[in-house]
Symmetry: C2
Subunit: 206 residues, 2 copies
DNA sequence: GCTTGAAATGAACACTTGTTCAGATACTGT
DNA sequence: ACAGTATCTGAACAAGTGTTCATTTCAAGC
């Protein structure tokens, strides 16, 4: 046997990436062998090297594609004018988007150490871009005296960690709908950063 | 050569656990070989099996010991009477304790999938005990009309994720002291769950 | 000082790892 | 119908995997 009937790189290529993504997320990068990926695709291990130069690059490409999708997704969210509403929009987008791509997110937060320095740097830059978008919302709100944030950088990280936490426990068939989770979380985030009414009144008056 | 001069199981044993903890945290369980651990300890791979029946048990023992330390640590925190102060005490304890044991926390949140079902269940029970302690604070505050929480279980998870996030970015030599980070985080947590003054007044009046 | 047992070696086991490649097969364009 | 190329196999490679064990060495108790 050699080439299979109906085989095509447009089919096998995505299959490889899909299988790798799923298996890496489930067992971790180091714990998944090329032969396991190949078996999942329905092909011999050697064939994988038509679609990736090596295992590490396969991981990097998955991570890279994911971060690009996140940034593109956020760019497509039409942002309201008020910082409070912007923050809610961000929180809702983050939760929904990340829930739809659990596997990729899992890998992004766990397997970065398997990358070499250069690849890591590229991904880290993209991640910082995303976090900056949130920080800009906080800064805008701070300047408009709508938010009362001690440190915008720290608060950015805190919010993102909190939102990411949804991944670790949320189950689509669970007690709460995703929409309800989005609502509760964005409410909490809002309360955590919004300025107290009394303080704002004093500031506006003064 | 065989036995080394000055060698003792009271010395090598802890060394093995220490090295395993550090290496697992840095590279991941699957990516670390017994020979790497042995080299780090300064011993041959075979000698490790005097201190653990196998690699998986070594991981499990590390995780188990960590969770026990977390629960013991929390038990030793003397809790104030007011829920607001209790919440702050919890947040401060969580951040400080987890920062002091970064490696163990990293493993706890990343390598659970490498455990078999029985071991996983035992650890999961301990983790739920810890989370329950936080939820009880939220429930108490809720009943005292000091907190305004939509869903105590979800809020518990949200708070813990947020606090855990500190681990991913905090550097002891960075811009902020650990004490300041604790303050900012516990303030944010407090604001996120506390009941608005107006609402509380209305409730007390009504 | 000698025996006893703990602590460690180092070689061996059977298997898996990522990766390469000559050869075989199926599809595509002419 | 045929040539050419894209796709895949299957075997091979050297290195590394977790684990076992007979053997050796050191340290402590009598």
């Amino acid at each position: 046997m050699a080439r299979k009937t109906g085989s095509h790189s447009d089919i096998t290529g995505p299959k490889v990436r899909e299988a790798a993504l799923r298996l890496f997320a489930e067992h971790g990068f180091a714990a998944v062998s090329m032969r396991q990926i190949a078996k999942d695709v329905g092909v011999q291990a050697g064939a994988l090297y038509l679609y990736t130069p090596d295992k590490q690059t396969l991981l990097f490409d998955l991570l890279c594609e994911h971060m690009r999708a996140v940034l593109d997704g956020l760019a497509e969210v039409e942002m309201p004018s008020s910082p409070v509403a912007q923050l809610e929009a961000f929180a809702r987008f983050h939760i929904r988007f990340h829930m739809e791509r659990r596997d990729a997110v899992f890998i992004s937060y766990m397997e970065l150490s398997n990358l070499d320095a250069a690849n890591f740097a590229r991904l880290d830059a993209m991640r910082r871009d995303y976090e900056s978008a949130l920080e800009r919302i906080l800064i805008t709100g701070q300047e408009a005296h709508e938010f009362d944030v001690d440190d915008t950088k720290l608060t950015t990280m805190a919010i993102i960690s909190m939102l990411n936490g949804v991944l670790t426990w949320y189950r689509p068939d669970g007690r709460l709908s995703l929409d309800r989770v989005e609502t509760i979380y964005s409410d909490m985030v809002g309360k955590a950063v919004r300025m107290a009414r009394a303080k704002r009144a004093a500031l506006v008056a003064g």
